[in-house]
Amino acid sequence: MSAPRKTKAKGAGNVAHFKSLYVLVGFFYAFLYFPIIVLVAYSFNTGTRAMVWKGFGIDWYVKVFTNGAILDAAKNSLLVGLIATILATTIATAGALALARGGAFRGKGVSMGVMTLPLIVPEIVTAVATLMFFSAIGLNLGLGNLIIAHTVFCIPFAFMPIRARLEGMDTYMEQAACDLYATEWQAFRYITLPMMMPGIIAGATLSFVISLDDFIISLMVSSAGTTTLPVYIYSMIRNGISPEVNAISTVLFGVSLALVTIYWIASKPRK
């Protein structure tokens, strides 16, 4: 009898074998999250110096929420984010529907590319181009300028989850609705729209987060009176890092985290 063949080592090819990888992953997370943890922690510091711990308290949050300039910036951010999200999501929904349900048309592939191209164009390029374009046509609508700029760069972010949702949806559902005496509009209203809703919610939250956190384009396009929160925070930092910056940043972080969680839940494929 021949010797038993040596079986392949159990789990060969599984990178989890390399213990050093755990260390690397640990470093990765530490670099990523340590600064944020420190920022959040120090936002509850009662001292006036940003990096010297005095005691726990929410003094700086109270300060933030009574600071008129910060509140104005926050209001601008929310308003711009909200309107830009509504516009971008509506346009993205229409675009996704045309691409997924509009049948074959000339330039379908190109439309697809054009829709998502802004994702890979460097933001600074978009920002400069937008600024130049607005001043070239003499557009001066105050917050309106910001809303237009935000809407444009939010569209691809809203588009992606909506399209992903639509791609996974069979046209059989709409056919079944039409078979059951629904007009095309009713089939859309009662079947297509509710079924793509998770994608729309995901797209909307993603756009809102992107708009809320945007800095470069906002910096270029905003003018006095239309400062958004990230732009205001940046201007605060130039006067030194104060615990107030920590507090407002923590609020922004918290809101973004909540929205991303919503996005994540909404875009999870339902079984």
Binding site: A177, C178, D179, Y181, Y190, I191, M195
Partner: protein
């Protein structure tokens, strides 16, 4: 004569240059369980979708109880469909799924609730009204799809291979249920399948299709025992087909001669003329093995296969033509043992022979 539910007249359907339906005409009667049977790709679904309104026909007319409908949108046709993969609305409860069509028709809430209840009872799913349709079993989804399609009391119900996603046991149980549903509701069913057993066991009439054309329409018995073409004979069950020429015929009998020269005298008249080249068809269960010299032709036993319930004997006629004979195990009791190489005679009743002209 019964009223005609669906009258399909000379339907042609092109997909680009591909001809999916080639001059199809059918008259489906009121309250009939009608089946479209054929191999994959023969155009069954295309025909069904044309009747439902999802495909625009290239040529031809479709009438529903006398009314021309081929230009109407799907939602304007009082026809409902049970889709192969059910297409239940995942974001609605079972109740709302079944109520969907009724709502679109503008029924009152009281009437809707009453009908939904009736439908759930009809498919024995009374307790499922408030359930969501995901994580239901295939059989349950099937029943809900049926209830949803039947709720608006359509004039015709279309079913596109509704049983193909179910396992064998359930499929057989659903066959009986579907048949009962059709009888209880009195609604005309047009059922699509590529499973001949399904078609044979459920249908009032069957249309056998191939390559976008209807080959033959008839009751299961006619389709099985009186196939008109080689395709139909071959597609439905096991069979013996022999190419022959008609050598002589009179009012009482016909003499067929095979290519290899074997003559078969059958005491039945034919409509065909002497010299016609056709094929003849006899089902294996109709072929009887007798002593050599006593049958219509002599043959040599070449093979025997035992399947438990039945046995198949393979024989060769003197010109080498293969003939199969099927015996049920009960018929075999007390029959004398036969060995490979034995000379035997084959016989069959005259009316079990079918002439295949194409």
């Amino acid at each position: 004569m019964a009223e005609i539910a669906v009258d399909v007249q000379n339907i042609v359907k092109h997909y680009g240059s591909f001809v999916a339906l080639n001059d199809v005409s059918l008259s489906i009667q009121d309250n009939e369980f009608f089946t479209l049977l054929g191999p994959s790709g023969c155009g069954k679904t295309t025909l069904l979708r044309s009747i439902a309104g999802f495909e625009e026909v290239t040529e031809g007319k479709i009438f529903l109880y006398g009314e021309e409908i081929e230009d109407l949108a799907p939602h304007q046709r009082p026809i409902n469909t049970v889709f192969q993969h059910y297409a239940l609305f995942p974001h609605m409860t079972v109740h709302d799924n079944i109520a969907f069509g009724l709502k679109r028709l503008g029924k009152s809430q009281a009437e809707i609730d009453k009908t939904v209840k009736e439908m759930l009872a009809l498919v024995q799913m009374e307790d499922f009204g408030n359930r969501r349709t995901n994580n239901m079993s295939g059989g349950q989804m099937q029943r809900i799809a049926l209830a949803r399609a039947l709720a608006p009391k359509p004039k015709v119900l279309l079913l596109d291979e509704p049983l193909s996603a179910l396992d064998l046991k359930l499929r057989q149980a659903m066959r009986d249920e579907l048949q009962k549903l059709q009888r209880d509701t009195g609604i005309t069913f047009i059922f699509v399948t590529h499973d001949q057993d399904e078609a044979m066991s459920m249908s009032d009439r069957i249309a056998v299709m191939s390559n976008g054309q209807v080959q033959q329409v008839g009751t299961p018995d006619e389709i099985y025992n009186r196939p008109k073409s080689r395709f139909v004979a071959d597609f439905i069950g096991d069979t013996n087909i022999v190419d022959v020429t008609i050598e002589a015929t009179d009012a009482k009998s016909t003499l067929y001669r095979s290519k290899g020269g074997v003559g078969l005298q059958v005491e039945r008249a034919t409509d065909l003329t002497v010299g016609a080249e056709i094929s003849i068809n006899v089902r294996p269960e109709n072929v009887v093995i007798v002593d050599a010299g006593k049958g219509r032709a002599d043959a040599t036993l070449t093979h025997k296969s035992f399947f438990g319930r039945t046995s198949i004997y393979s024989m060769e006629l003197n010109d080498g033509t293969l003939i199969k004979s099927r015996y049920s195990s009960r018929d075999e009791l007390g029959r004398k043992e036969m060995a490979i190489g034995d000379s035997v005679g084959i016989d069959f009743a005259a009316d079990t022979l079918a002439e295949l002209t194409s």
